[in-house]
């Protein structure tokens, strides 16, 4: 009888500590969401604007992203890349939004192997020596890019993500990241050149 009582007490105490450990871990998680997520706010909004071309839609997208991220925060594995995780949520939310569906319906998200839709680039270095005043030029060219090229360029150049991070964000293999980036850059150069020529002709 005494033995049973002791065994019972032992189990309860162990269970108690176990719960305590779980609780402190959970409170740690919920406490750190804001600290982890808010520093990305401005960048996420910028990225959302580039995807949607509409500020109101971008706001909705960012809002949806934060709600989904908070809700799914328990599924986020601590120690893995939070930035890639939250960008992935935003991107998935965009792809399932009305604008996202429309965009991906007209332009395939996967542009690999579509060499023919890349304009020919006159590879003279002088032709794309960019000035500070050419910011608008680049922005226009970026806008014209298919969303698959635009997002991979933004993640690499603006967010300065590693190939590994981009691979995690877009859920594509590293090899695809490299080839898509290369195509996106060529497409952007071509776009910049075309816009430049148009400008010069217009001037």
């Amino acid at each position: 009888m005494r033995g049973q009582l002791f065994a019972g007490r032992g189990n309860k105490t162990t269970a108690g500590w176990f719960t305590l450990v779980c609780v402190s871990e959970e409170s740690l998680l919920s406490g750190s969401f804001e600290q982890l997520a808010m520093p990305h706010f401005e960048r996420l909004y910028n990225f959302a604007c580039w995807l949607t071309h509409d500020r109101q839609e971008a706001e909705d997208l960012v809002q949806e992203t934060y709600v989904k991220a908070l809700k799914g925060f328990s599924s986020f594995q601590q120690g893995t890349n939070f930035r890639a995780w939250i960008y992935k949520i935003l991107r998935n939310a965009f792809l399932t939004s009305r604008t996202g569906l429309k965009v991906t319906a007209t332009v395939p998200l996967d542009l690999e192997g579509n060499e023919e839709n890349l304009p020919k680039v006159q590879e003279t270095p002088e032709s794309i020596l960019l000035q500070r005043s050419d910011r608008e030029l680049v922005q226009q060219a970026l806008e014209q890019l298919p969303v698959a090229y635009r997002e991979v360029l933004l993640l690499c150049e603006v967010e300065e993500m590693s190939y590994q991070e981009i691979s995690a964000t877009l859920s594509i293999p590293m090899g695809t990241v490299m080839s898509r980036l290369s195509r996106a850059r060529r497409a952007l150069r071509a776009g910049v050149q075309t816009t430049q020529v148009q400008k010069m002709q217009g001037a």
Partner: protein, 255 residues
């Protein structure tokens, strides 16, 4: 420029993006750096790509959110706080409850055990004192019909004693004993060379000193205890557990 050199340059330009993105393995990075220092065409190409990278970097940072939007998002996250606080506090309270209950059980078990141990050790002291005494019993008799009436007027209750004729036990005598300042009966039996004390006290006299029916042994003595009709019986001695059980059965049967 020779054909061979152009081919060399082509293999390098394929790697130029990874080089400028800082994603080339260290060995190749060194080799490409070397090549760039020697090849004007590749250096120019590299420069133009760096410029494009920089241009995209600045041009890409185009949209700034409204401060009120930031506040709204922060409020939105905070709005989830009550639910989170509930989730946060419930397990804490549950844990506190579990720990409290566990603590209470531990204290209770310990206090009960302390009570039992105290009782057993007091009885063991009484038993040893009796055996050590030069005058161990006040009434020396093997006859239960002598012993039982002897207690009349000395203790505030009466009890029955078993017939021991066909058993290995011999009644050696009895005396009045005290526990918790209350008188009770102490009967001394012998079985072979062992002495066994049987204590009988009123249950209400024991107060906080409780004992259950479980067999226990303390201080190398075997102890049996039970209650019957408001009386608490204790059998204590260095005889075997079987002997104590047998004597207990006889006493229970007689009561």
């Amino acid at each position: 420029m020779s054909q061979g050199l152009i081919m060399v340059c082509e293999t390098w330009t394929d790697k130029l993006d990874a080089y400028l993105d800082g994603e080339l393995p260290a060995g190749e990075e060194r080799a490409l750096g070397e090549h760039l220092r020697g090849c004007a065409a590749c250096a120019a190409e590299s420069l133009s790509r760096v410029q494009l990278k920089r241009a995209v970097h600045t041009a890409g940072q185009r949209f700034t959110p409204d401060p009120t939007f930031r506040a709204r998002i922060q409020k939105n996250i905070a709005a989830k706080q009550p639910a989170r606080w509930g989730r946060f506090w419930f397990p804490i309270l549950a844990t506190a409850m579990v720990l409290l209950i566990a603590g209470a059980i531990t204290l209770r078990v310990n206090s009960v055990r302390r009570g039992e141990q105290q009782l057993v050790s007091e009885l063991a002291d009484l038993h040893v004192a009796t055996l050590a005494s030069s005058n161990p019993v006040d009434v020396v008799s093997t006859d239960r019909h002598t012993v039982k009436p002897w207690f009349a007027g000395k203790i505030p209750f009466t009890f029955n004693l078993p017939e021991l004729k066909d058993s290995p036990f011999v009644l050696m005598g009895a005396k009045v004993s005290y526990l918790n300042q209350t008188p009770g009966a102490e009967l001394i039996f012998s079985v072979r060379q062992h002495r066994i004390s049987v204590f009988i006290f009123q249950e209400r006299a024991l107060g906080s000193l409780r004992a259950d029916d479980a067999a226990r042994s303390g201080l190398s003595f075997n102890v049996r205890s039970w209650s019957h009709d408001g009386l608490q019986y204790f059998v204590i001695g260095d005889a075997s557990a079987q002997d104590l059980d047998k004597l207990s059965e006889l006493l229970k049967a007689a009561a």
